[in-house]
Structures are given as structure tokens and as C-alpha cells.
């Protein structure tokens, strides 16, 4: 029974992702979208914490459309998986529920 967390705010200016990381546990997943994709940058405030979560088996995703729109495709951390809107839907099916951090 696991939760998909979506975060749509940049961690450079907003603490939504920080709270999300606190709550996130083993089988959960995190999807960065809209301005949340800025948090996928290697230099983002929570980059180390995200990578640590990833090493514990928590998948970190970023919405490809939002990443491309913001010219981040080649700047984001390697462990972050880029996904489409269709894959976003599939994630919400595979996880049991969604918490939106905004």
C-alpha cells in the first residue's frame, strides 16, 4: 500500500518538497511536475535528500513535458526518471493513492 506524491513547486522557493521527503517511505514514489521540476536539478536544495531516497528504492519521476519546457532535460540528476502524461496516469493506477504537495 503505497502513495504517489506529486510536488509542483520549486524547492528553491518553497518547502513543499522538503515536507514530502519527510513523509515519503520505502514503497512510495515522488513525481515532480510544473515548477516542481526545478527540484530535479543537481544543484537543487533537496537534491542530496532525493538521491538518498532513490537509493532506498523510492522512485523519483519528473514530467518530461515540464522538464523540456524549462530547458532542464540535460541538467537534471541522473537517477530521476522522465515520464509522459500517459505514464503519470499509469503511476496513479499502480500506486494506491495520491498526495499533492502544493
Amino acid at each position: 500500500m503505497s502513495t504517489l506524491h506529486t510536488v509542483n513547486k520549486s524547492s528553491f522557493t518553497n518547502r513543499a518538497l522538503e515536507s514530502c521527503i519527510l513523509i515519503c517511505r520505502s514503497s512510495d514514489g515522488i513525481l515532480l511536475l510544473e515548477d516542481g521540476v526545478f527540484s530535479a536539478l543537481k544543484s537543487a536544495p533537496n537534491a542530496t535528500a532525493l538521491e538518498a531516497l532513490n537509493q532506498q528504492g523510492i522512485h523519483i519521476y519528473a514530467l518530461l513535458n515540464d522538464v523540456k519546457a524549462r530547458a532542464l532535460e540535460y541538467k537534471i540528476a541522473a537517477h530521476i526518471q522522465l515520464i509522459s502524461y500517459d505514464e503519470f496516469v499509469s503511476l496513479t493506477v499502480n500506486f494506491n493513492r495520491v498526495q499533492s504537495w502544493y
Binding site: N65, F88, V89, S90, T92, V98
Partner: protein, 134 residues
């Protein structure tokens, strides 16, 4: 892999000026493409602004207002606008406009006004309830 068909409801809490409304719309399109059911889109908080028929976006920008209407028409999706949130913000249908003695009404075709109970009912009957907030 067999993908189960699920019933979704979407809670849009962001105004059209926030990208979250666009994300909600794209999410709806994607889930319908995959053969899932979209039980209801509920517009709450500033999300109600998606339902005005008075917005006139520039020709070379996305008209999200019309896109919601097209979505509703093509897939008979219920677009329900929280009545309390709408009245507060100046979004009325004809009936409410008469009730409150206002100069006009501006709820776009395809949208209906409904109580918060409709959000809760959506939660009760749906496998997934996804919030798009700002």
C-alpha cells in the same frame, strides 16, 4: 501487463492562470486515452475560474476554457463547479443570478454548479481522486 480500468475523479483547485489547471486537463486526456473512466471533474477554490464563459484568451494562446468544454462533450464528462466557491468569486448560472439579483451570468456551457457533496460523492465512487492545486 494487464492494466486495470479504473474510475477517476479530479479535483481542480487552481485557476486557469496556474499551470496546475493545464496539468489537470492533460491528465484527464491521458486517462481517457488509456480507457479509464472519468467520473467527474470537480472545480473548487480558484479552480472555479476555469468555468467562466467571459474569458477571451489571445488567439495564439491555449484556450483552456474551451478545451474543458470539448473534453466534456467528447467523453460526456461531468464538470461540476463548487457553488459556494463560485458565488463568492462572481461565477453564476442563470438561476443563481436571478436568486441573488445580479446583472448577468457567466457559467460556461458544459459546466454545472453543485455542492461540495459532489466532491465527496466522487471520492466515494472513484478508485482514484487526484488533486491539482496551486
Amino acid at each position: 501487463m494487464i492494466v486495470p480500468v479504473m474510475i477517476f475523479s479530479i479535483n481542480v483547485q487552481s485557476p486557469p492562470s496556474s499551470q496546475a489547471s493545464y496539468s489537470a486537463y492533460q491528465f484527464c486526456r491521458a486517462l481517457l486515452r488509456q480507457g479509464h473512466n472519468l467520473h467527474r471533474v470537480f472545480f473548487y477554490q480558484d479552480g472555479i475560474y476555469n468555468a467562466t464563459n467571459l474569458a477571451a484568451p489571445p488567439q495564439d494562446e491555449l484556450d483552456l476554457y474551451s478545451e474543458w468544454q470539448k473534453l466534456s462533450k467528447e467523453h460526456s464528462v461531468e464538470l461540476v463547479v463548487c457553488i459556494a466557491a463560485a458565488l463568492k468569486r462572481g461565477l453564476l448560472n442563470q438561476e443563481e443570478s436571478i436568486r441573488y439579483n445580479k446583472a448577468g451570468h457567466n457559467l460556461a456551457e458544459g459546466f454545472t454548479l453543485g455542492g461540495l457533496g459532489q466532491l465527496i460523492e466522487a471520492a466515494a465512487v472513484s478508485d482514484r481522486l487526484i488533486t491539482f492545486g496551486n
